[in-house]
């Protein structure tokens, strides 16, 4: 009788947790498949979440977030492993450093839809915030991943989920390969011009099968793990590194004017009504450990945000229908900015986050009425 996926998964976790200390220290996340194969262990599906760290001890932060759930742990040169238990079944959650400084991958063999992973992604990460913060991918990231994979074979999408921005409804599309040829990633994406893509399940011929998620996550199902690392992990890493760079050093400095702001670009008219602006306000004010203070509304909206996790603070302005301006205060950590921008971006359908100079002179026409 063939081993079940759960047996397969448990065997891999057991192997990883008891790996020789020196071997574990030397083991890079991209070499997992090769090393497991050497020991006669096959790779199960692996769930990845890429996070940025505002701490020199990211494993300690994750350990803190996990709290009493941990039954065993191993700190390694690459990060560390936490063993935990749910419904009498053990599983291992690993923190692995990436090729970029302060960008790490949280990896486990449990499926992304499983409560065991949800506990990691929701409870543990909430406890590790703001020292560890996930990031979100935008449409370009999805397209770039598909483009890069298409150099290695025909990319076909079998399932795509999205959120329709205008009415917040969900959109799910699946393609059976028996009936018609599945679309390429570009073809599938073309159907989502007014949507926020949340997940894409795709394959590269017979070489690789993966699941990509907006929350800087991916699942390796089967196939060429090297290709998964080379294209997908690299893209997750670079997206996180770009976000890290954008959010680093955003604090104000005394006696210096604000010369740059963070701009979240949204779909046209995304904030054109008071209902949508109220939604923004309520979205932010319901982030855990966050409180807002409204200074002005109707219709230009100005509120300030205080993050009680580490005291970070920022001003938020909505003065145009398709953008949110974020002006970090004197204390604004990367982790706090990441979690706040991610929640806003997720609620309102962020197209992009960018910086904008605010010290340019303004033409007269902007001041004249009519």
């Amino acid at each position: 009788m063939a081993a079940s996926a759960e047996d397969h998964r448990q065997r891999f976790d057991e192997w990883l947790l008891h790996l020789d200390p020196f071997a574990l220290d030397d083991l890079d996340v991209t070499a997992l498949a090769q090393r497991a194969r050497q020991d006669g262990v096959s790779l199960p599906q692996l769930t990845f979440l890429t996070v940025i760290a505002e701490t020199d001890e990211p494993f300690a932060a994750l350990r803190h977030g996990a709290g009493h759930a941990v039954t065993a742990e191993r700190q390694t040169a690459q990060g560390g492993l936490l063993c935990t238990e749910a419904n009498g079944r053990q599983y291992v959650v690993g923190l692995w450093r990436s090729s970029m400084e302060r960008v790490h991958h949280i990896v486990a063999s449990v499926p992304v839809t499983d409560n065991r992973w949800r506990r990691v992604e929701q409870t543990w990460l909430a406890g590790a915030a703001p020292r560890l913060a996930p990031v979100i991918l935008n449409k370009h990231d999805f397209e770039d991943v598909g483009d890069a994979l298409s150099e290695h074979g025909t990319v076909e999408v079998s399932r795509l989920t999205a959120r329709v921005l205008k009415d917040n409804s969900s959109y799910t599309r699946g393609w059976q390969d028996k009936i018609a040829r599945r679309p390429t990633h570009r073809q599938a994406m073309a159907e989502t011009s007014d949507m926020l893509v949340r997940t894409v399940m795709l394959s590269v011929g017979d070489r690789l099968s993966v699941h990509l998620r907006r929350h800087a996550g991916a699942t390796y199902y089967r196939g060429d793990y090297g290709l998964f690392c080379k294209v997908i992990l690299r893209r997750l890493t670079s997206a996180a590194a770009a976000r890290l760079k954008m959010l680093t050093g955003r604090e104000r400095h005394p006696s210096q004017p604000i010369t740059e702001s963070l701009i979240m670009r949204l779909a046209e008219s995304a904030l054109s009504t008071s209902k949508e602006r109220t939604k923004l306000l309520e979205t932010v004010s319901h982030i855990s450990n966050v409180q807002v203070a409204v200074y002005h509304r109707n219709p230009y909206l100005h509120f300030a945000v205080t993050d009680y996790l580490d005291g970070s603070n920022l001003d938020v302005f909505v003065t145009e229908d398709d953008r949110v301006s974020l002006l970090p205060g004197y204390h604004a950590s990367v982790g706090s900015l990441a979690r706040i921008t991610d929640v806003i971006g997720e609620a309102l359908g962020m197209i992009d986050l960018e910086t904008e100079a605010t010290d340019e002179l303004i033409a007269d026409e902007e001041f004249f009425v009519g």
Binding site: V292, A293, H302, E366, F367, F368, V369
Partner: protein, 388 residues
Amino acid sequence: MAGADEHRRLYRLYDRRVDLVSVAEVWFTRSKALAPYTAHFERFPRLVHPIDGNAATPDFTVLFNDDTALVGELAHIAPGTSAVERLAGQIGRYETLRAVPWGPSDASGLQPLSEVCGVDVVVFAPVSGINQAIDELAEMIADPEHPYSPEHPPMLLSYSYDADDGSYTFQRPARGRNEHTRDHERQEGLGRWLKRGHDELRGLPKHFQTIKASARFMNDEPPQLYIATVLWNFVLPDIAASRDIELPANLTITEQELVERLRDGYGYAASIDLVRRALDFLRVARLGEPAVDGWRVYYRNLGRVSRDISEALLHEHYSKANKTRRIRLAAPAEPVADDAEAAEAQRADDVRAEAIEIGDASLFEEFDSVEEVGGQPSSAGADEPTAE
């Protein structure tokens, strides 16, 4: 709850005034037309009048490259009162200023001054009552017996907020002696600019948002709720972060420290008295109390009371329930030996707290029976007065 509503009204009015000064700052420092002629815009001028030796605190001053200046005042002119008479007395003094700031205050609070050879005065006033004010000022100027006799009359601009597009509109009513500013030898100035704009100008939040976030205040003293909110929103968490203190925390601060934070952070020279009143607001709200070494502020998330900080502060300020229980610390206090009475009180408070249903007070709701639960009872006695 008239008291609470008055706090809210003053909060909104002050924020409006912060916006208006920020609009002026944009005009003079960021517009292609005027910025090249501006040497310094000061939103917190603290001057001593050269003739009477008394303080002069207009709402903003602009020093131009040609050694002239513009002094701005935000006025609320209530028709049928002596407000215009008082305004005349005020702006009459501004016109005779001999120097205005050319840079921000230094660490000691002193503003470097630059002598000027001519001063234009601009008054921003709400639309209602401005025509009457212009007419009354014209009558004063025409009256040789009246002490108000400016070398050049002030320019009054009405302001209004357009809720359809979220912008401010400024208009110069063409009546009485409401002439354009002289603009002296400059090729471009507010008066000439206004003429080109057919006597109307706009103030867009997208232009002034960075200025507003940078400065937060204008030259008038903020109302208690406004300053308390800024402290809770920005200053107190900044202090905790700079000391590497984890939140929630029982923060020990001094009034002087807050004065310096407000000055260094936002350029606003808050008085000790203002800071003390803000802290007293927190004291009544049971979120702080005087201590031997300054003040102890029990800094924590007030989100269970209201998602909005100013509303949560207001709620705590007016809450009758929190006046009858022991003050709640934000973090555990140092252990106190032989404090059985305190421990018993803590247990009683905990039981009481558990009995209170926690609601999720939505934004801007009126006060209800929502009570914050959590925190640690202080060893201090429950002897606070009821706020109302």
